[in-house]
Symmetry: C2
Subunit: 307 residues, 2 copies
DNA sequence: TTGAAAGCGATACCAT
DNA sequence: ATGGTATCGCTTTCAA
């Protein structure tokens, strides 16, 4: 039988070679469909995410695809377009298509029902369902500590969406560091953008955002108000989106190691599929702060007490 | 005979209903694998693109997924990561996985071998293999005409990659409009970024780029050189990336109708799969110019002759 | 070690 | 209109 050419089974080297050559001659293409039917494995993983057009996800999707390909899987994408019902529907569609497992980035504030499908959840350590994710709180701490080290003592924290657990964790990390040593306030862009000029006039010298897109907006507002970055105001973003190095000044940012996250997620699902021990219960991947031109030492360095 | 519930075949309404109810009871899930084996159709489309992390593609991938889902297909992604060999390999992997057809955005300067697989090529009208795409030259014309209408007569065209046919077509469109009526020069960022301050000093009042990312960079350079946008310099980008509305001033840009492109591409592949007449031989989708805050009337409006 | 044959679960055709 | 059954192409088990 020609399947012995697939490596396993007991077969003579000679026979194997003969079969292999003949297969090449005829241009033999094993049918995935038939294999899937017989083995009950499609060799396909689903990747569910809230919104591919959000600049955060493409790199992750790309990494998942790379990791999956390396592990011998194909990747079926399912974009839930920010809609929770669509997320449920997407998972169901993937199941119907017979995926062997899924990698999912849950819609903010959501606990998707996976129902006995091997799955890896990429979210945030504070989510009990989390399989693997960046240490968002630690990332927030790094960003905050960087501003502290540069002498900033009056800082604006700017989040994009209160409902996002990832963003809340980042901000919790920031607040944890700033709390004892610096004045700080938190605002959410869903409540409207705060007036940067006013804040700077009131003494703010640093802005921590939960996204490069928000940081870019702050940069622009500062520019229009005649505030110099980084001289008068330091800004740090998150996720190292492509725009971070395209904008002037280049943006300091805290990046996720999406490659590692994707790798671990795929490995985990793969283990689940094969009923192996999943050594992975809430793996945490460190984030990396990259200081670029949008941050500098605070102009009026306060060496004294926190206010 | 449960398949008669799938709609076709001759069956009594009563029987159909009975089967349907029983199917629900048992929680019947048709096996895609078995169906695929029998019908020779996987119900899956492949989507091959050069680089998902390029901000241009996510929206397109998203649109393709939406269009495919609507047409009853799943989408298997294959990112060729800017590598031509990887592109070939990716297509081959998709074929092995038994996709019914593919939608492909070819790597710049490449004519991928599809080999008897139903396919839609999304590229540019100047590519003879093109199935559907934006009218990039017309987009370039729109951008150029907008600056002309605003009184600009000395314009810098800034491309990102000479090897990209899409970018060349956009620039050809720009040059076609500017040629007779304005002074203009073309530069490529692969040769290094031109010094915006020098150019403005030399009389340039407008910059046309082939990408929002490049436009963002120009905006930043101008800012650092103390050049006011749009007062001293107008800038227009391409593709309406998320950053376009996040930056200040917001970026004027020429957008693709990715939804329509994806829709047509999927429809075309679907027709090919069913051996229907493909009415689509080089469909062209118009682009849309959106004027935002990065463009304004030229300060020194030259009403005279082109130079 | 090799050959033969039984199924995986749908679909479609053919008798009834 | 309905029930029965051969078949898609591969994997796996069993016999030789």
């Amino acid at each position: 039988m020609s399947n012995a050419l697939s490596g396993k089974g007991r077969i003579s080297a000679e026979m194997a070679e003969r079969v292999r050559r003949r297969a090449d001659e005829v241009g033999f293409r094993p049918s995935q469909a038939a294999r899937a039917l017989k083995t009950g494995r499609s060799g396909i993983l689903g990747f569910v995410m809230p919104d591919l057009s959000n600049p955060l996800f493409p790199k992750l999707a790309q990494s998942v695809e790379i990791a999956a390909t390396k592990a011998g899987y194909g990747v079926l994408i399912a974009d839930s377009r920010g809609d929770v019902d669509e997320q449920t529907a997407a998972i169901e569609r993937l199941r119907q298509r017979g995926v062997d497992g899924i990698v999912i980035v849950p819609h903010r504030g959501t606990r998707p029902k996976i129902q006995s499908l091997p799955a890896a959840v990429i979210h945030t350590p504070s989510d009990p369902l989390n399989t693997v994710s960046s240490d968002h709180a630690e990332g927030g701490r790094q960003a905050a500590q960087a501003l502290i080290d540069l002498g900033h003592r009056d800082i604006l924290i700017l989040g994009g969406d209160r409902a996002s657990e990832v963003q809340r964790d980042r901000i919790d990390g920031m607040v944890g560091v700033l709390g004892p040593v610096a004045r700080h306030r938190t605002a959410w862009t869903t409540d409207g953008f705060p007036d940067i000029a006013d804040l700077v006039a009131a003494g703010v010298t640093g802005v921590l955002t939960t996204s490069d897109l928000i940081a870019l907006r702050v940069l622009g507002d500062a520019y229009q108000a005649g505030i110099k970055v980084p001289d008068d105001l330091s800004i740090i973003g998150f996720d190292d989106m492509p725009l971070a190095t395209a904008v002037r000044p280049t943006l300091s940012t805290v990046a996720q190691d999406v490659g590692q996250i994707a790798e671990k997620a795929v490995t985990h699902v793969h283990s689940l599929i094969n009923n192996e021990q999943s050594n992975a219960g809430g793996m945490v991947v460190p984030m990396t702060l990259t200081l670029r031109a949008s941050t500098a030492a605070a102009r009026h360095h306060q060496t004294g007490e926190p206010s």
